[in-house]
Symmetry: C2
């Protein structure tokens, strides 16, 4: 558990296919096989932060699995409804829907969309002012190009990796793939800056290509930085001017320590935070 993190145990409001309910049929392939995709986004006074990017990514991920994505005109109002004008987390799960037993795709398929809100994680102010401590996870991500980059519901690797530590001062774990390349955080994307170049891992074999990482890459390019999506080793990380992790809830946070090794600081995380909402 992240220090100071407070969350309520269950969602505040759930819509399943537009209907307020909290229960899903057990024949849904989201449960049976993890056959679906999801999004986690932030609502601020009910406004859906970076909605356009989130919807585009949901649609792309659904297309990659051959699941029909609801049109924006259906999904956005549902997200606004569960956000209820508040500061909260909105999570969208889209599955291939219920089917008969067996892996074969239901034909026709009738996808299930779930939209739910919950309390924002209450990150300590020190995460922004002092950066966060992270650790290397021992679990190595498997490589599967057919699923790489997609935020799908098969997340047991993340669950096992997150279970590796309970120390409250460790805010995130970093993952390598089985070939030893740095891929990202358990719940975040990873990047570092050296000189005027932003480096972020190649996610063609595993990992999730998140919306915040995408926005930071666009921001860096607008600011005239080089952006390199590349394979990287742990030793490359320690030669960086600054190391960051990012996701839609925490934004961009500087990494101050990886296990017992301090990371340099050059003020990049703050610059990215300031610019992240520019092209909203």
């Amino acid at each position: 558990m992240i220090p100071g993190l407070r969350l309520q145990a269950t969602c505040k409001l759930n819509l399943i296919n537009g209907i307020p309910q909290e229960q899903l049929h057990v024949a849904d392939r989201g449960l049976q096989y993890g056959d679906g995709v999801f999004r986690t986004l932030r609502a601020s006074s009910g406004k859906l932060i970076w909605w356009g990017d989130h919807y585009a990514k949901l649609a792309a991920d659904a297309r990659a699995l051959g699941i029909a994505c609801p049109v924006e005109e259906v999904l956005k109002p549902e997200c606004l409804t569960v956000a209820q004008g508040q500061d909260c987390v909105v999570k969208v799960i889209l599955t291939r829907g219920a089917g008969q037993r067996g892996y074969a795709l239901p034909d026709p398929a009738s996808p299930t969309r779930m939209v739910m809100s919950s309390a924002l994680p209450d990150y300590p102010a020190a995460f922004v002012s002092q950066g966060i401590k992270v650790r290397w996870c021992s679990l190595k991500l498997g490589r599967q190009p057919r699923l790489a980059g997609i935020k799908h519901l098969n997340r047991l690797e993340n669950v096992l990796a997150r279970a590796e530590w309970s120390a409250p001062d460790i805010a995130e774990g970093l993952l390598l793939d089985e070939a030893g390349w740095v891929i990202g955080g358990v719940m975040s994307n990873f990047l570092f800056i050296r000189g005027k170049t932003l480096f972020t891992p190649d996610l063609s074999q595993c990992g999730v290509a998140g919306v915040t990482r995408e926005r930071i890459m666009r921001l860096a390019q607008r600011q005239g930085m080089q952006v390199r999506i590349t394979q990287m080793r742990p030793q490359d990380v320690f030669r960086a001017d600054e190391v960051c992790v990012c996701n839609s809830l925490m934004g961009v946070l500087r990494v101050s320590m990886i296990d017992d090794r301090p990371c340099a600081e050059k003020g990049w995380a703050g610059k990215f935070r300031d610019g992240l909402n520019e092209d909203d």
Copy 2:
């Protein structure tokens, strides 16, 4: 869809934590992350076929993920209840239960057990008398030793592989891993016989180590055969005296063709079928 296969669209009877119901809370980690394991077994006139093996495997898989497995005295009566004295499929899903948002394990966790029955697949008699046609899948399984062998709920690779074909005369797809080793069928385990030796793939990197494969290995050893769990290439398969796939619903079936290439026949599938229930 397998030729002649008839299935009803939804389960006949579901118990969730012992209570007849068909709906699961959306906060369940089985849906959110695929954080659970499952079993598919056959009931014959209500008798749970190979129950002891299935329960032992469920318990081992749950232990591998750190999920508390219900005691047999709770689970078996529930399986018998849903089987209702009939010939049917009984599926058991065990998840880590509902939790707050995020990958961190709920503490304490309250696992969810789902027990459900459905119609048996109606395999054509020719599957037994003439063997089945199968194909090589183009999807290559990723390698993840932490999850290998476990029948967990992260099954998107199986879903994508099964979606590769719709020809009704193809009963199963065979999968290689990304290193090119033969692993098994989309919904079955794989084995072949050469001389007096049974060969079946090493599943230490990926794949599901099924109960029927385990029973066939024990049977072969009782009959004085050598059993070799080994890495194998596709070309090794074609040097076999007989190639088979197996699972708890189909039992053991001979493979007569892999794509356009016929496989030899020596009567092994029939011998294994006859012996499979011996030590029940």
